[in-house]
Symmetry: C2
Subunit: 331 residues, 2 copies
DNA sequence: TGCAGAATTGTTAACGATTCCAGTTTAGTT
DNA sequence: AACTAAACTGGAATCGTTAACAATTCTGCA
């Protein structure tokens, strides 16, 4: 294994000079630096990060923690998240991945082990973990789930605006009677999406009938039963916004079961753009939550936070995009 | 930050003794050890892994590399894989995750940085990377994709047996006319699954008509067109085995388009049990590839390999399981 | 030419752990 | 009680790097 001392010997300088040259210190003359860099490259030198860490007290690893490793719904998140993060992350940082629910020993989550932590959060059950990280003083960014606490850096999708845009589109297609299947009660995302739904309807001076607000909890099953109820209304809606894609899939199945044609009879709009949205039959029109972008921006914020820990936490919103497929009919 | 020297001071012993006590050295008297362990726990001591790494030359991190981070199909893999791995992995090991295609500098993949490497492989394009790891002498296990090279530890699903079992089931449901949509030519998995298909048919003395062998390449589109062709046959099959779920989804859409009812007119069997398999309409009967189990077993093998690097590489097969849903009709 | 001050480079000591080798204590035997 | 072997503990070096401080080499100008 090549060390800076080996390079120093070859270059005829001290190992300190080598260290400085390789770390871009301004103390080193350009010719010396160039020569040392060339020699290092020739010798295939790779720095020993353990030694580096030991003295600089930085670990060069950032941790990605995500909720519900035991549940299925988060699966496509993860790849997108990792993609976005590695985009923003320096190549000699390590990204370690953990399920929050498999962290048994909170004491092991320490500043000396993580230079920074990203939490891909999907549920308020993550809060205990989030606050532990915060109290340990580890630079932290929470992704994907909107937090109430303004003291934590938070990057999320602009759900409200995204839903409004989708509804605007449906209005432009001629729809006037809109229903919503709401998300899990108590979740910030549920109220945000509902608000976007109402924003659009109000902007277009459309009526908001109480009958058209159906309860849901983000599960396929709840989408199914909510849709079934909606279809039994005397005057059913022509378009239904489902607060996530899972419920949209449930709703679509309910339509099949009730013999209601999608989209001719009922138009459907989802939210998330999960992988499966493009495979449904017909393919689901939905609002794409840009997980990769959220992750990339979050990582950039984390890096800033690592450099200046006193940076004021912000809440950042990333724009969603409307994915028009085949479940909204023109009237 | 608490170090062993702090503990030594409190315990009135040398830091050497503390190190030994905490690492289970037999040289330390039981009473001394117990006392030191108690003090360490009281002081919330957490070892500094950088220091440990520096002297022991172990990094305490194992790397998970997976192919095609830029493609979608692998998404559900990743969560399952991480789940399985963390099951088998000691809590003070770090698991770092990387996309193979985002590794630009092979030189950074070094023994000093990884105690071991797992490759979740989906394509033979990974081979270059795999051989780099091998030549670097890093303990290595390749998961999910069957390798030709017997010199590399390899854990895969028993595709052949799994397909056979699924076909046996379809036969038991009364089917006699079976078609197959094959996987990507040249892939080991394609031939294995095809072989399982034929094994079952031969065992049941059913005929293998060349018309019933349709080419595919594991893509949704190829499933669609293969199925379309199959439906236009004068004597179409009653059951079609699709070599993966993606093609099964394409095939199902082709059935919709041609007005062939699934499963009444055509029964469909997939392979993989991807997340969406349960969401299709009707829900897809398929062969579950036990990614979590593969990953867990692979990790165990990797740990063994790390302890005794001269262990003879093996090829291990993990049993699949048949997931009966709604796409195979009883005749 | 000589010299101050700037620009470079080098010496040495950390960082927190393990480990070799030596030193001390304890126990067992005579 | 004396001696020896076994059991246990400690001192000091080491891993590869950075960084405080010291030392050296250049500059430019009187």
């Amino acid at each position: 294994m090549i060390t800076i001392k080996d390079i120093a010997r070859v270059a005829g300088v001290s190992h300190t000079t080598v260290s400085r040259a390789l770390n871009g210190s301004p103390l080193i003359k350009k010719v010396t630096r160039d020569r040392i860099e060339r020699i290092a490259a020739e010798m295939n030198y790779v720095p020993n990060y353990s030694a580096k860490s030991l003295v600089t007290k930085r670990s060069f690893t950032i941790g990605l923690f995500f909720s519900s490793i035991e549940q299925g719904t988060s699966s496509s998140f993860l790849v997108d998240a990792i993609k976005g993060i590695s985009h923003a992350l320096d190549e000699n940082y390590n990204l370690t991945v953990h399920g929050i629910d498999s962290v048994h020993n909170y004491a092991a989550i320490q500043p000396q082990r993580f230079d920074g932590i990203l939490v891909m959060s999907q549920s308020d059950e993550d809060n205990a973990f989030i606050y532990h990280v915060k109290t340990m003083g580890i630079p932290l960014v929470v992704l994907n789930r909107q937090l109430e606490d303004p003291g934590i850096m938070n990057v999320v999708a602009n759900d409200r605006e995204g839903v409004k845009e989708a509804l605007d589109y449906a209005v432009s297609q001629g729809h006037r009677k809109f229903a919503i299947i709401e998300g899990k009660p108590g979740f910030k995302s549920s109220t945000e999406r509902k608000q976007g739904f109402m924003d659009s309807l109000i902007a277009h001076r459309l009526s908001l009938s109480p009958d058209y607000f159906a309860a849901g909890d983000y599960s396929i099953e709840s989408g199914y039963s909510a849709m079934t109820a909606l279809l039994q209304l005397a005057d059913p809606p022509t378009a239904v916004f489902c607060s996530n894609d899972d419920m949209a899939i449930g709703a679509m199945n309910a339509c099949y079961a009730s013999g209601a044609a999608v989209p001719q009879q009922v138009s459907l709009i989802g939210f998330d753009d999960i992988m499966f949205a493009r495979y449904t039959n017909p393919a689901l029109t939905t609002v794409r939550k840009p997980i990769a972008d959220i992750s990339e921006l979050g990582t950039k914020m984390l890096i800033q936070l690592m450099q200046q820990p006193d940076l004021t936490p912000q809440q950042l919103f990333v724009k969603t995009s409307l994915v028009v497929r085949d479940t909204v009919a023109g009237l």
